[in-house]
Subunit: 351 residues, 4 copies
């Protein structure tokens, strides 16, 4: 079918490529003319403006907006201004689902359909396809189903779940109509929340393996921390690159994140050059806030999120407060090196 | 090669089967003669006792012990009593690696080699092979390498990690000599710790999806908890069985645990009949204790572990203490139903 | 000075009593005429409606609204409707500070001042005074300072902080102008967030003391959980009522919450009759959401909040998911009693 | 009564001073003769060696050892070597209660009593007295009760718990026989675990207050983190020194730790000069390990402990792993500054 794409960054451009390859017609627009030209060279139809783009589609028009979340609202408004009742606007970016709920409600009186699509797949999506989590009115989602089928990974070589039979369901092809407007980004948000937790689980475990030789390094141990009590149990120089490679085969925790970790550690076993300041995008935060709203315990997902905050030093004032308290009640300096050597002394937290 | 297996439970028996299929000779023993007979019928050589078993092997003998962790120590001692210098005892069960360190040290003066193997693979291991994490002296691990190759999954259809070339390394075949005695179970322990975290991440996320319709259920909301502030954002009746199936395709969080979850939810979408009292075996606990020992933060892994404790009601006294405090400072009963309706009243934690 | 109080629940009524005792004049109103009558009998001036109440004050009028958060917005609107430029509305309830920011902004064009006051003190406030966290414009806060001085605890017998000299600062008298509108409830919100964390810390510790005799109870241990590895270290029958009483004297963790806990445990050492379903009001939730918003790690405060959710069974679906996964990968029933006894078997998480 | 003190560091010396002031006779010994001389000048009896010290006591002898935990075992052995059946050795340091259990058992056949005392009170103990948590055999604890009464704070001006009547119980005087050998240090360990949690709760809350002006600082916001979504709600420049002072009066979270925090922030409102690398002694670690052993959830106490580890950079490798994964699946550099500006781009975790 024919549709328009607004926003030709890496994600938008690659989705267009998947669509073109599968025989769809794509009208494309971006504020950057070079991005348009590149895809025109690959078979797309170029548009010079959002208004121009609308004229190149027949109703019901389908316009997919693939823009950074911060400016999506404004672009959706621009697109809506040139559409007509029955047309469909897709937000395929990383919007907060709150915005979807609000936008769908705002567009509804004008007869415009709003469909939100959460996508997962990263840089591998062009080849592997994108996992699509879709929210919106039944009618609009049905209309765009041919697009969804193309952009999604399809059944691929994933083994069929026991008990599933007959024709493949949409979720087995890599796309799913999750519910009304907002449901797509809601499910994507939770997906990313889980991703944070799964990543942190792996990272914590690897950090422990990385320190499994702590007993060997014991001699260099500073007085700042409690001494290692049983150094004989921490004499293992573990090769984390090899272990992650190993776990890819037959282990319970084999996963795509593990594949990536094994690749990263094979390439750079010491992870030199990485500062370990871990960014976070909105989804992890929204997941925790949603869990708090509905009263669902999320200790793992929140610990993963807070770990990222701390990795960037956002725990600094809290830690200073702790040091200040300890100084007050113990009379200790921050690095109580001498204290533990003092005869009859007490370690720093003795309280 | 020829080896002996002591302990023919599901795991031990299936490992023997994999070995027999690949042409190895297995002498088998179990306290249950029927278990022996069953494997003899499949081609193994039966033994009537541990002493008998030793006589049916030539040096250097290799005896794999596959027994519940609680009695492994005692069986290892029995086996050691009938072995000779240069022989190898393998503990393939779920021992705490502390025990490995101690046992290896105890057996070393007698010239016996102790090899610990952590195995992952669950009920699928017979067909998929077992991921093998091996600790022990170089000499002994080299000796048993033919066995490891057979029991491990092999390269299978796992895509090769970018940058890896040439002959497949052992970790690419599904087994790895991780370090000295104890290292195998140490790596397996951390593996399971990660498993707990990854499982909890998925479970928390699914719980949030399960409650994404909280705004619809708001009417039934009791006064016990804070009211849902923006019910319009929680109107999604999400089908978790379909969502997990979806995520298996092209998403960042695709994993074997996700495959299993999708299967479980397809079979029983409401999870009826499961009480949600989640057991834990030793590895999750040992992981947290090891992290504490070496000073590695493990907030995610520990949250996952503590969540299991709480699922079994082990948080009961703590929660009663909280209720008791609230009763003291707020004068509130445990279910302050009337309180929030009281004019001028304050909600229960107002303190 | 003269002021009006709207809402005569426990908190509102007790604040009026403190004000009357100190010579202030209070015009009081509540939807419940009996509550009005009771305070009139104690010296207050009764009002029959909000409109009536306004006529009984001279400008600049000060009206303190002490109403459950859910209906505060509506009452503030009613009060605002009968006030004039320069008048002051105080919200002393448990409003979300977001509402304060919005309300202050809405009232500003009409020349009305909005002051939010977070109060702490619980049922003891009448005698001890209420700790007052105040947000709002300088001018209005200055105007109501005589009221704040009366309602606050005053210096009392709290030891002066080293380094503080001269005249007592407002914060030493128990009230503080924390910042613009919303700042009062923001500080109160964080206060309650801390309260959740401090309560949970105490509750977890007492739960551990309560289980310090786990080694004695080991015999009854089910196969559902990992066996206690060193029962000899858990032979202590600790009397938590006595321990909390002890800690009130000279220990680093002495606190008012500890006082209350000691009282509760003295009264009911086994906490019989408390189900341990712990309610939460909005502040703990808002604290976590605010921390997420600004990127401040709050692992302790969130763990405390999530523990309350779990105490009410809100972790149920997550736990069922975990049990379902374990059933899939291990072939284990939820209570794998038989499994661990099986020769050669593996414990339940062996994966 | 007459007793000996071995170890005259700050704690040991101050305990001797409290004892001398109350009329007890103290024989004192330290490896540092100056420390002995100083107390002799204050009225103590000096000893030149542990053997010498034993000769200066009559049976049943009481020897209090107040030495850093690392060398306590060795000193206890030296002391035990010069004692006789019926004599009492007190370990008042910060030993792991495991050691108490073992030592008591080792000394029992020789008729020596081992008493472990956990003490809390910090640098203020000399004046305020020390909160004493005591473990050991009934007979020995009864013998040393006069000492305990002197060293403990006594009833002081702590308000009596409602319902307590008649003669003051030991716990109301600040000491408690908690159970058999080890119970004293066990209770002290849990005390410190709680302390960690309570400190962290306060520190996290203050960090949030410290960042309540994040909306003002928004302009400087880097692309590394998700932008602040509602900057209008984070416009509060909160004075944490004043707020902590305020909370000391009438609030639910008033506590001694709060007093100390208020003092620290009054002295140094920006906490300049504190790096925020927070040490930990053994007790916090042992508490978490004990909770894991007995299956008690301790999410708050462990989060507090892990926060300290992270404050010292022990999360480094884990964070590098996270950055490495993100680089793999998103193709993003660690600080994806350009990425979020890209038209059609996706934020960094889009996965």
């Amino acid at each position: 079918m024919r549709l328009a794409m607004v926003g030709l960054g890496r994600m938008g451009a690659n989705i267009v490529r998947r669509l073109l390859r599968d025989g769809h017609e794509c009208v494309v627009y971006d504020v950057n003319p070079a991005a348009v030209a590149e895809l025109v060279a690959e078979g797309a139809v170029g548009a010079e403006s959002i208004a121009d783009l609308a004229t190149q589609l027949d109703g019901p028009r389908v316009v997919w907006v693939m823009i950074p979340a911060g400016i999506t609202g404004q672009v959706v408004d621009e697109v809506a201004a040139v559409l007509e009742p029955g047309d469909v606007i897709i937000d395929g970016g990383n919007s907060n689902y709150h915005d979807d709920v609000r936008r769908a409600e705002a567009l509804r009186p004008r007869g415009l359909h709003y469909v939100d699509i959460g996508t997962s797949g990263g840089v591998f999506g062009l080849e592997r396809g994108y996992c699509l989590m879709v929210g919106g009115p039944e009618e609009a989602v049905t209309l765009i189903e041919p697009i969804l089928r193309t952009v999604a990974p399809g059944a691929g070589d994933v083994e069929r779940t026991p008990g599933r039979e007959g024709e493949l369901a949409p979720e087995e092809l890599g796309y799913l109509h999750c519910g009304p407007s907002g449901a797509g980004h809601f499910v994507k948000m939770v997906h990313n929340g889980i991703e944070y937790g799964a990543m942190a689980a792996l990272a914590e475990g690897l950090n422990l393996l990385h320190n499994a030789d702590a007993g060997v390094r014991e001699a260099e141990h500073s007085a700042e921390v409690a001494p290692l009590e049983q150094p004989e149990f921490y004499q293992f120089p573990i090769d984390t690159a090899k272990v992650t490679e190993l776990w890819r085969r037959g282990s319970v925790i084999s996963s795509w994140l593990l594949d990536l970790t094994a690749a990263a550690l094979h390439e750079n076993p010491t992870l030199d050059g990485l500062a370990g300041r871990v960014s976070d995008s909105g989804e992890g935060r929204w997941t925790v806030k949603a869990a708090v709203d509905v009263g669902v315990p999320a200790p793992v997902l929140s610990a993963a999120l807070f770990g990222r905050f701390a990795s960037r030093g956002e725990d600094q004032f809290a830690n200073q407060v702790l040091s200040a308290m300890r100084l007050q009640f113990g009379g200790h300096q921050e690095r109580p090196a001498g204290d533990v050597l003092e005869a009859g002394g007490r370690s720093a937290d003795a309280g």
